[in-house]
């Protein structure tokens, strides 16, 4: 590989609101620069996980090196980082930003500036990035280029006069993006002769290569066979390979200052690597470590239990394997009276939870039950102790609790004017406190303070539904505040189902309890006997429904000796029963748990 002078390197992240076309733009850039042949291209080629492809979203940031021969006649190395748009994965964005000097801010010209557009562009500006605005999807009839440019100027305060107008889908004007990268984004700075200083951006486990570490070289050179030191853990490793992705894995002799690439070596486990750590030369270490960045902290917790108790060990192994590539979720063992052995796991948000659950089920062939998601509560006890709980089951006796504090967030919501009323009502219903309301043309931007526990259940779904999909949402944690919370239990056939118990605000308990028992009534199939469903606080029942007993369930005709057909039906029934969880005598289908928690109140 020919080394390129540092002035001919450009490192950039592609940031945007969800679905505005980041990955599609990455496709075009890879294609135009020849990183992949046309026959090797698929749509959103960097979204390599099945679940990313199916849902059409990016979960994991990806890095690709492109070789570009620019109009000025020079050859450039472009390191592209495609980032996820969804708020749960904001952490992926922040670490990509730390590895680059510039960002492409993609805005869907038919949608305009959305909540994550703001969140991500501010993050980029905070990282001192040069930002090139890109108006994407100009091929759509609904594209409003002038209006969206105005929005970018008004809302973000970014000069949009020379925004690049493209269609990532058709490729229209994408070459201009490459020129803008070269001419408008700054090259990295770095000293080749200084001791090695590199930022650990990401790491993952690859079945062939073992632990792969993605680094951004700040100063010095990283070579094969050198011994590196991780400054925070102080561990040393021998480097076996260095290289980069084009997006194909390509080995190199070395990585120099300003470059982004990978190394593999004697590192055994992903857990040995700390994202944000500084790597240096063991023999000639750098004096000062990089500031790094805060680790991602889980904000939503739930229990994950195998439907079939025999699958516990499989689940344990599966969680361990997934964690290898996703350090942002945590787990510890948990036992539940009704559900047996499982894990209490922490996630960055509900989508993250859903995705991990789905991956566990699909990639490891498990059937899981997720219990009610919970946030972290701080409790001051009458004995002076302070504890944190994220599992309603662990809640001490109310008489021992002096005070409960719950986490609050600041939410930014952008919505077309006509849905503003419904959006405000939703926030108000969720105990929100309005902080700001501004207009950008026909779009309103509201800032609300909200308790996180009112948001984790179904806030996002509700927001989308009250705004016909048009409102967008971003949030960050702010503080803990005192709250009047009670523990609500759901009893099915008189047995409490701990998977459904939760802490709720006293004023909201009855409405939520009512909605949950009504939903469960719909979802629990009729049994041979009637099944009462109750919501209760302490010993007091606040809502009650009954699933009526089966009245008629028998195949009338059974004819001609075709027993196979009946047996296959029975097999299906048995299969269905496996997807249910037995609570005493009652079988509760798996989907009932999530659905009951997502009820709209």
């Amino acid at each position: 590989m020919t080394t390129v002078p540092i002035d001919n390197i450009r490192n950039f992240s592609i940031v945007a609101h969800i679905d505005h076309g980041k990955s599609t733009l990455a496709d075009r850039l890879i294609q135009i620069t020849g990183g992949l042949q046309d026959r090797e291209m698929v749509e959103q080629v960097l979204d390599s996980m099945d679940i990313e492809r199916e849902r059409g979203i990016t979960i994991k940031a990806q890095t690709v090196r492109l070789n570009y021969h620019a109009n000025d006649g020079k050859d450039y190395i472009l390191n592209l980082m495609d980032t996820p748009g969804h708020v749960d994965f904001a952490y992926e964005v922040s670490r990509s930003l730390a590895a680059c000097e510039g960002s492409l801010l993609v805005v869907d010209a038919s949608q305009g500036v959305e909540a994550q557009t703001l969140a991500n562009v501010y993050a980029a500006l905070d990282s001192n990035h040069e930002v090139v605005p890109i108006l994407n999807k100009v091929d759509l009839p609904a594209a409003e280029v002038a209006k969206v440019k105005q929005q970018i100027e008004d809302v973000i305060g970014l000069d949009a006069s020379n925004a690049v107008e493209i269609s990532a889908k058709t490729g229209l004007n994408v070459p201009a993006v490459l020129e803008a990268i070269v001419t408008r984004l700054p090259p990295p700075k770095g000293d080749r002769d200084a001791p090695l200083k590199a930022l650990l951006v990401d790491s993952w486990y690859d079945v062939y290569l073992g632990v792969v570490v993605l680094v951004r070289i700040i100063d010095g050179v990283m070579k094969k066979n050198m011994r590196i030191r991780m400054m925070r853990t102080n561990a040393t490793y021998d480097v076996d390979r260095v290289g980069f992705f084009t997006p194909k894995l390509t080995q190199a002799e070395e990585l120099g200052p300003g470059e982004i690439g990978f190394l593999t070596g004697s590192i055994k486990e992903v857990a040995d690597t700390r994202v944000g750590d500084t790597l240096t030369d063991d023999r000639k270490p750098t004096a000062e470590a990089l500031p790094g960045f805060r680790p991602a902290i889980p904000v939503v917790f739930c229990g994950l239990f195998p439907v079939d108790a025999n699958d516990f060990e499989t689940l344990r192994a599966a969680m361990g394997k997934l964690r290898l590539n996703d350090a942002s979720f945590s787990f510890e063992m948990e036992t539940s009276a009704a559900l047996g052995f499982g894990f209490r796991a922490g996630f960055l948000g509900l989508l993250h939870l859903e995705i991990i659950q789905e991956r566990l089920e699909r990639e490891f062939n498990l059937n899981l039950i997720a219990t009610a998601p919970s946030v972290i509560y701080k409790m001051k006890l009458t004995n002076g102790k302070e504890i944190e709980i994220h599992n309603p089951v662990d809640m001490p006796d109310p008489v021992q609790i002096e005070e409960i504090q719950e986490p609050w967030i600041e939410a930014t919501i952008m919505t077309p004017d006509e849905y503003l009323g419904s959006v405000l009502k939703l926030c108000q219903d969720r105990r929100g406190v309005q902080k700001e309301l501004t207009y950008v043309g026909a779009r309103a931007m509201v800032k609300y303070e909200l308790p996180l526990n009112e948001v984790v259940f179904d806030f996002y779904d509700r927001l989308k539904s009250v705004s016909k999909g048009y409102a967008s949402f971003d949030y960050h944690l702010t503080d803990f505040r005192v709250a009047d919370l009670v523990k609500m239990q759901i009893l099915v056939n008189a047995d409490p189902v701990d998977a459904l118990s939760m802490l709720v605000h006293r004023t909201r308990a009855e409405a939520r309890g009512r909605a949950m028992v009504e939903k469960l009534k719909e979802l629990i199939p009729p049994h041979m006997f009637q099944v009462p469903i109750q919501a209760a606080i302490g010993g007091k029942v606040i809502a009650r429904e009954t699933v009526r007993a089966l009245r008629k369930d028998v195949t009338a005709k059974c004819y001609g000796g075709d027993i196979s057909r009946k047996r296959k039906l029975l097999d299906k029934q048995k299969e269905g029963k496996k997807k249910m969880r037995q609570y005493g005598k009652v079988e509760i289908p798996q989907e009932a748990f999530i659905a009951a928690l997502k009820v709209d109140v």
């Binding site: 041979m528 008629k552 369930d553 000796g561 196979s564 009946k566 047996r567």
Partner: protein, 391 residues
């Protein structure tokens, strides 16, 4: 509870032969049986040859048996010439020993044309007919897509009564719009026409039928589960009061007059199935085989002519499959199942705790002689009971 085990001559080694005739004059909109309508004449001689061939192949495979029952089902077997029926019966007699008390049933549609053949069937060896009456009201028959009137059906019943010692007929109830009062009246009428046996089926909406499409479109108001339950309970009560108690979910008979052929299925004994889309359970070298044949009549013909049989499925069943089938079929009977036989088939006993739980709520009961049977309150939700026991 009548002890039909003793009163009935069905033995453990009973063997039945099922013959499927796959053609009908028209397709009823609720029906998902293997029945086909053909507008050209059907080459009966060619079919008869194929039946003979398939019987010969089956006999060569399983060896000697004593045939205790034969059943011509369909489709509409009463569209066959009596001579065709005779030839098939001869073929059965050629390969196997036929019991002197053999029960030979033929399903017939109650149109006037078909009733004229009843004497011919009797001469050929048929000794029992089962008529598909379905309803005793012309408007309802029409909406069921039937080709006969109520009067024709009653006439056919009368002819059957004079031609055969044993006859039965079928009704479908829980039909669209049917009320309890209407059904009570129709049922009373049916009982007065019945001799020893009646089949009373609640209408099932079968996937892929025109009724299913209507139902999905909201254009077929069938009784809800509550009314269906009431109609079922009424049926039990009225038939029992008239000496025709149910011995199976949908089948009613005077004691000793049960369909011996169908009992073979329900008791999970051995039977051979010949003809298009016929099913069998054959005991070969100590294992139980599930067989079924090609459903399309002409393809079945070609298969048989080319290879001696129309088999498309021939699997030896696992213990779990056998015990599930035994449970599924046996619990449909009022007499229930022999739990020792269940244990022998499956290699394990039914779970005591499950039985106890079900018995506790009164859906099943155990008898002193080791039988497990579903109760009056358990029968209407039998499928749930079986699923619970089999889980």
């Amino acid at each position: 509870m009548p002890d039909i085990l003793q009163n009935n001559s069905v033995e453990k080694n009973d063997f039945g032969v099922y013959v499927h005739w796959p053609f009908c004059l028209s397709k009823c909109p609720y029906c998902d049986f293997n029945s086909h309508v053909r507008h050209q004449a059907i080459d009966e001689t060619r079919f008869v040859k194929a039946f003979e061939t398939e019987l010969a192949t089956t006999a060569a495979r399983i060896g000697a048996r004593t045939v205790s029952t034969i059943f011509f089902g369909g489709g509409t077997p009463s569209l066959m010439q009596p001579a065709t029926v005779g030839t098939i019966l001869d073929a059965i007699g050629k390969h196997w020993n036929v019991s002197p008390t053999v029960e030979v049933t033929l399903e017939a549609n109650p149109t006037s044309v078909e009733a004229t053949r009843f004497k011919g069937y009797r001469a050929a060896g048929v000794n029992r007919v089962s008529l598909g009456v379905q309803a005793l009201n012309d408007a309802q028959l029409k909406s069921l897509g039937r080709m006969h009137t109520a009067q024709e059906a009653l006439d056919a019943i009368a002819i059957a009564r004079s031609a055969f010692d044993r006859y039965s007929f079928d009704l479908i109830y829980a039909r669209p719009g049917q009320t309890e009062a209407e059904w009570r009246e129709e049922l009373a009428r049916a009982i007065s026409e019945a001799a020893e046996h009646l089949s009373l089926y609640q209408l099932t909406i079968e996937d892929g039928t025109p009724f299913a499409a209507l139902h999905a479109a909201g254009k077929l108001a069938i009784p809800d589960p509550e009314l269906a339950r009431i109609l079922y309970d009424v049926t039990q009560e009225v038939t029992a009061a008239h000496g025709l108690p149910s011995y199976e979910i949908s089948n009613h008979a005077r004691i000793g007059a049960e369909s011996r052929h169908n009992l073979i299925y329900w008791r999970y004994h051995e039977y051979a199935g010949v003809g298009p889309g016929a099913h069998g359970r054959l005991l070969i070298d100590g294992t139980r085989h599930a067989t079924s044949t090609e459903r399309r009549p002409e393809s079945w013909l070609m298969r048989v002519e080319a290879g001696g049989d129309g088999l498309v499925e021939d699997e030896s069943l696992t213990r779990e499959e056998m015990s599930d089938e035994f449970l599924l079929m046996g619990l449909r009977l009022a007499e229930g199942i022999d739990t020792a036989r269940y244990a022998a088939l499956s290699g394990r006993s039914l779970e005591g705790a499950r039985i106890a739980a079900l018995a506790g709520v009164g859906f099943v009961e155990e008898t002193a002689d080791g039988r497990l049977r579903v109760t009056r309150t358990g029968f209407p939700i039998l499928d749930a009971v079986v699923a619970d026991l089999a889980a």
